[in-house]
């Protein structure tokens, strides 16, 4: 525990079923504030499922059933009086495939602040859009084409736009589900740098299939296997001296 910051997200006894099939078994995990936590594990082990529990995106899946408890800053997000819309404002999400709205670059970033009433004036909004695009490292590339369609950007730019769109509403936590899997190595490197920067302002949870990526960007790593959390800890410990044999096998490439 030494050197670990305060946990912002605390998950306890999380079980998730899709219809009759159990996808997560008694997950308990602390996610510290303003650090990057990576979730790794073989395909189908439940990383995305867990991630989507944190902002209750799984509510959209009819067959999904949640048990257990997840708190953010001390509040149980599955409590009956919680408004999922407010939750998702606090817990943003970046998806595997870049999914900008088929609108202009500006409108993509401005949409969140608009619906949440975060900007008092047009100038405010412009400032917020610029701040977000700068944070996402995209400002220099799109400053002249803010009114052009977002779908005209390259894949890597689109993904950074999605990140800018997410941070524009200033969430507490940013969830990323394999944000680089649809990108080439150069774009991936940019996003990794970006994640490292965003750490100063946001708590980040990232799902990745790349061991190198996990070790490069994250401070904490959690290893999932067949719906169970096998091991979690400081990233360098996990990669240098894993406690569990399954972790050992996975990071050396013997399973998964």
């Amino acid at each position: 525990m030494a050197g670990t910051r305060e946990p912002v997200i605390v998950a306890r006894d999380v079980n998730v079923h899709y219809a009759d099939k159990q996808a997560l078994f008694k997950i308990a995990l602390d996610i510290p504030e303003k650090e990057v936590t990576s979730l790794i594990g073989p395909s189908g082990c439940g990383k995305s499922t867990f991630l989507r529990c944190i902002n209750r995106m799984n509510d959209l899946v009819d067959s999904a059933r949640f048990e257990g408890q997840i708190t953010i800053a001390g509040q149980n997000i599955y409590a009956p009086d919680v408004d999922v819309v407010a939750l998702r404002r606090e817990v943003g999400m970046v998806f595997q495939k870049p999914n900008p709205f088929p609108k202009s670059v500006y409108d993509n970033v401005a949409y969140g602040p608009k619906i949440h009433g975060l900007a008092q004036s047009k100038a405010d909004l412009d400032g917020l859009v610029q701040w977000s695009l700068e944070k996402a490292g995209l400002w220099d590339e799109v400053r002249d084409r803010l009114n052009e369609p977002a779908l005209g950007l390259s894949g890597g730019q689109q993904q950074r736009l999605c990140i800018a769109r997410t941070i524009a509403v200033k969430p507490k936590v940013v969830l990323m589900d394999e944000p680089c899997s649809a990108l080439d190595p150069v774009a991936t490197a940019r996003i990794e740098d970006l994640i490292d920067e965003l750490r100063q302002n946001f708590s980040i949870v990232i799902v990745t299939h790349s061991m190198q990526q996990a070790s490069r960007v994250s401070q904490l790593t959690a290893f999932f296997h067949l719906g169970k959390l096998v091991e979690a800890g400081r990233t360098k410990n996990i990669f240098t001296s894993p406690q569990d044999e399954r972790t050992q096998n996975y990071i050396t490439g013997r399973i998964g």
């Binding site: 995106m57 959209l60 407010a86 998702r88 495939k97 999914n99 709205f101 769109r165």
Partner: protein
């Protein structure tokens, strides 16, 4: 050794059967399209004539004894043209013959003459040669639709009338011109005067009502069913209902309209309001089904993106999903409206078969619609109405072609957006 190239008699027989089968298929397609071509050809060739009308040039005496130049409106125009006709054929004297002679011109000859004078008052006081619309029989004769060789009592014109027409023709006093009156007149008992303006206006008002009701309701219903409806008995029931309504015979909707809209709610009979409402009930399922399909085609990633930002489901739908589905919804709407435009039977039930001369001023006034006008004219005894009917069909088909082309273009343009 058996041959691989299939020269055995059995193989030959099977190969022949194969060829025959393919020809059956081609034959079926050919037969269907041949029927289509024949139908379109016979309607177009039979209807083009109605876009042209025949004028007889007649010298009328507009001298001061007939027209007071100070007050031309007071003149007896009927007497003027009739005198002119009498003068033209001095040998005609008996009453019966005279009536036939006057019948050579259209029923509105005096109004035509008055219009000529009003348009150019300078002609008053002189003798001038002016064009007059010929009667429908003369028009038919000149278009070759009346057989001169057939026995006299079997055709609508007597030998004498034909001789009068020939007299005009010999003097070069017959002119053909575009029949604007077909587009600017309402219905009439006189074929040469009958036009489709009132029917077009009625169709337009009916379509307007139909669109204003069915479009919003169908979109909202489709959004509910596709985006929000819980999967339960009620949603299933709605779904089954929509699919069935799409296949209910149109005349049943007419009966519903007659009982509900006219007899229960007391909407005015024959009105575009009642007609549009009935048609909107028929169009609803078409638009709902198309709208649901195009909502379903919006990728879920768009919904997730919006919801992930903290948009409410209502916001995600109305800000992002529905606008993306709009081209598809519009396509479905146009197709539905095109169906409604050609629909006849339900309008008969709510009394839109009335004889309508004037353009309706509002959706509450009696009106007719283009397909109903076609139905009415198809039943009229005069030969000239056959031509008019075909022409009205041509106009209707042109509207339908335009609408369907618009739908196709819209679909092409927005097909691959995601």
């Amino acid at each position: 050794m058996t041959s691989l190239i299939g020269q055995t008699p059995d193989m030959r027989r099977r190969r022949a059967a194969e060829t025959r089968f393919q020809w059956y298929g081609r034959g079926a397609i050919f037969a269907s399209l041949a029927f289509l071509a024949f139908m379109l050809w016979s309607i177009i060739s039979g209807g083009l004539g109605a876009f042209f009308t025949t004028d007889l040039m007649l010298e009328v005496d507009l001298g001061v004894q007939n027209i007071d130049p100070e007050n031309p409106a007071a003149a007896n125009y009927r007497a003027i043209w009739r005198d002119a006709m009498k003068e033209h054929f001095p040998e005609v004297t008996t009453r019966k013959e005279l009536r036939a002679l006057y019948g050579m011109l259209g029923a509105d000859a005096e109004y035509e003459l008055e219009a000529h004078v009003m348009a150019d008052p300078a002609i008053a006081g002189r003798k001038v040669k002016l064009p007059f619309r010929a009667s429908d029989e003369v028009d038919m004769l000149l278009k070759g639709n009346i057989d001169r060789a057939s026995p006299e009592d079997g055709r609508p014109m007597t030998d004498q009338e034909i001789a009068w027409v020939d007299h005009f023709a010999a003097a070069g006093d017959i002119e053909r011109r575009f029949a604007w009156s077909f587009f600017t007149n309402g219905d009439s008992r006189e074929p040469e005067l009958a036009g489709i303006l009132a029917a077009l206006a009625g169709s337009f008002l009916t379509m307007l009502v139909c669109f204003c009701v069915s479009f919003p309701v169908a979109i909202l219903a489709a959004i509910y069913l596709e985006e929000f409806a819980p999967k339960n008995r009620l949603s299933d029931l709605i779904e089954v209902n929509i699919n069935n309504l799409a296949a209910v015979p149109s005349i049943v909707f007419g009966l519903l309209g007659l009982y509900m809209f006219l007899n229960t709610f007391g909407l005015p009979r024959s009105s575009p309001l009642a007609g549009g409402l009935v048609l909107s009930l028929m169009t609803l399922p078409t638009i709902i089904i198309a709208a649901r399909a195009s909502l379903r085609a919006v990728p879920p990633s768009i919904r997730e993106a919006a919801l992930g930002l903290g948009a409410t489901p209502v916001q995600a739908t109305f800000h992002h999903v529905a606008p993306l589905a709009l081209p598809g919804i519009l396509t479905g709407t146009i197709v539905g409206m095109a169906q409604a435009l050609g629909e006849t039977a339900p309008l008969l039930m709510i009394g839109m078969v009335a004889f309508i001369v004037d353009v309706p001023d509002s959706i509450l006034e009696p009106a007719t619609a283009l397909p109903v006008q076609i139905f009415l004219w198809a039943d009229a005894p005069q030969r000239a109405f056959v031509e008019k009917t075909s022409a009205a069909i041509i106009v209707l088909l042109i509207f339908l072609i335009i609408m369907n082309l618009a739908a196709i273009l819209l679909r092409r343009r927005f097909e691959k957006r995601f």
